[in-house]
């Protein structure tokens, strides 16, 4: 399993920038930028992201953890993944 260090953030950012953001026309996303109001994470994107996180980091993310708080930003997603890896 991947260690929770700065690598995780990079991996999450890459997925968000390359797979989710293009359908909104955004090319640059800061670590604290809002992912929900901006529409980067929508109802299709969120489960693509969850599936990616589960596979890439070997974690299980329950439906009850799919909340606006946990997916507010790249940093928030990283925190969620870290909390599920313990």
């Amino acid at each position: 399993m991947l260690r929770m260090d700065s690598d995780a953030r990079t991996v999450i950012r890459e997925f968000v920038v390359e797979r989710l953001a293009p359908t909104t026309g955004r090319t640059e996303i800061g670590e604290d930028d809002d992912l929900i109001d901006s529409g980067i994470i929508d109802s299709l994107g969120i489960f693509q992201l969850v599936a990616f996180l589960e596979e890439r980091f070997g974690v299980v993310i329950g439906d009850e953890e799919i909340t606006p708080e946990n997916f507010a930003s790249i940093v928030a997603v990283e925190r969620l993944v870290a909390s599920r890896s313990r």
Partner: protein
């Protein structure tokens, strides 16, 4: 009897002045406040030169002010145009230009994303005004609380809803007060909406499902909870909101209900107050409908059908006893004061069992597309004797042995994805606008969860190799997000049929194979 939409609220405001009419984002507005604020907005718009029949764009995420703005524009005798707050600025601008929007109700933040507009006035729901053309929401307070005198009649336009067009230009469907009230009155009688009801509003306001939620709630003195865009992403939150707000009437596209079924653990919720679940806009996959019916044993379920051009024109009440043996759900029979029938290619009516295009007659039928008499004539058949216009839906149907209509498919390349009406040509036009693209074809791959998934194939100029992300980003600048293909495959050239056309059948097979892999 109300002959203008805004009149629906007058009686409710007298009877329930202190009752919440609208809830949104943790705020609520009473009937008395809604009446007063919308009258003040109408006065403000009039003072700023907005006249009867002028178009006023509404461009902001859902909030209690959304409904104030709708009613305020109508009370000014004007026409509102709900603009998708998540659509790219270029598309929003193109729509505003197409219908000659003369005023905007928006937020400072959204306004700054648009190129400069030539407007009589801009009302800001939030944010700091710049210059005298921009009026803050707080300015409403200085206007009289009585509306301007009524001058409109029922055949005047109430709102224009823009929908995907096959050549890359969105089409503005014009709807009159009579069009909307025909639907709203039918709903009120059929579904017995009362002051005790609590309605949800899941659909975006530029989508005609919202007409039901907002006006049926206001007409009955009920409360409508506007579900803001961000909550629709989080199924658990959405389900919690249905429970906490005590929603009794829900109306959405089937995709939204499937999303809840798959991810919200509905069985763990207390949804007993939900007495009526209506859905429209796309085909509800039977396996999910059966699950929903089991989870909500007390709710009545209805399949409603009708394009934006007619609003709902047929309906079918789900029969739980028949559900197990049904392989597809009928769209049902015509609503009151509406006639539907199927015709063959020569325009002759076809009987039960035969396939034909569904035609709609009645007072809910649109007068046409804004500024486009050619498209209007193509879509609306003029009856030579009565002079009335009948809408050609483009939907292929057949009538079953019970006299109910079944939807079979489309005559053209319009598809539904997450309940949104999408013209494949609209997306192809966006792809062709990319400098490297020489050929483009968009394929809709059928999908149980969201109706269809959009896949694109493009051929590019020699020496160019744009990435999928770059092509998606390009499309996102031109079309709303739900129209941006999830996958875009770049090829040297696209396969051709023997007559030299793009071989869509082969591409569809390729797309399905890629999906299964």
């Amino acid at each position: 009897m109300a002959y203008l939409l805004q009149q629906l609220v007058v009686d409710s405001a007298h009877r329930y002045p202190d009752k919440p009419a609208i809830r949104a984002r943790g705020r609520s507005l009473t009937y008395a406040e809604l009446e007063m604020r919308s009258s003040q907005l109408a006065r403000l718009l009039r003072e700023r030169g907005i006249e009867r029949g002028d178009r006023v764009g509404l461009f902001f995420p859902k909030a209690v002010e959304s409904v104030v703005a709708m009613l305020g524009v109508l009370k000014a005798g004007a026409v509102y145009v709900p603009l998708d707050p998540h659509a790219p600025a270029r598309r929003v601008s193109a729509i505003a230009e197409d219908c000659g929007v003369r005023a905007l109700v928006t937020t400072a933040e959204r306004l700054r994303t648009l190129p400069p507009q030539r407007l009589a006035c801009t009302v800001l729901v939030s944010g700091e005004p710049l210059g005298t053309g921009e009026v803050p929401w707080s300015a409403l307070e200085s206007f009289p609380a009585a509306p301007p005198p009524e001058s409109a009649i029922e055949s005047d336009l109430a709102y224009i809803l823009y929908t995907s067009g096959s050549t890359g230009q969105p089409k503005g469907v014009m709807l009159t007060h009579r069009n909307a009230l025909t639907f709203v009155d039918w709903c009120a009688a059929t579904f017995r909406i009362s002051a005790d009801d609590r309605l949800s509003n899941h659909a975006p306001l530029h989508f005609d499902l919202s007409v039901f939620d907002v006006y049926n709630a206001l007409g009955a003195g009920a409360t409508v909870s506007l579900i803001h865009e961000e909550i629709t992403v989080f199924p658990q939150r959405l389900a919690a909101m249905i429970e906490e707000h005590g929603i009794t009437v829900w109306y959405s596209v089937p995709s939204a209900l499937v999303y809840l079924l798959l991810h919200a653990d509905l069985a763990a919720r207390d949804l007993d107050r939900l007495r009526l679940v209506l859905f429209a806009g796309e085909v509800f996959p039977m396996k999910y409908l059966r699950q929903l019916a089991d989870l909500l044993p007390r709710a009545e379920l209805y399949n409603l059908y009708g394009p934006t051009e007619t609003n709902v024109c047929t309906y079918h009440r789900v029969d739980r006893w028949r559900l197990a043996g049904q392989d597809r759900l009928p769209i049902g029979r015509a609503c009151a004061n509406t006639e539907v029938f199927a015709v063959d290619d020569d325009g002759g009516r076809v009987g039960p069992g035969a396939t034909g295009e569904l035609i709609v007659r009645g007072p809910s039928v649109t007068p046409g597309y804004w500024g486009d008499p050619v498209k209007s004539r193509q879509a609306l058949l003029e009856d030579p004797h009565l002079g009335e216009r009948r809408y050609r839906t483009g939907d292929l149907v057949t009538q079953d042995e019970n006299g109910e209509y079944l939807f079979l498919g489309r005559r053209d390349s319009q598809v539904k994805s997450r309940g949104y009406r999408v013209e494949l040509g609209d997306i192809e036009a966006a792809l062709y606008a990319h400098p490297a693209v020489v050929e483009a074809a968009v394929i809709a791959v059928p999908d149980d969860d969201i109706g269809s998934r959009l896949r694109a194939f493009v051929a590019v100029r020699a020496g160019e190799r744009p990435t999928t992300a770059a092509l998606q980003s390009h499309c996102a600048g031109l079309v709303p997000r739900y129209m941006v293909p999830e996958r875009i495959e770049v090829r040297a050239e696209l396969p051709k049929t023997s007559t030299g056309k793009t071989d869509r059948t082969r591409l569809a097979a390729d797309a399905r194979r890629a999906e299964a892999a």
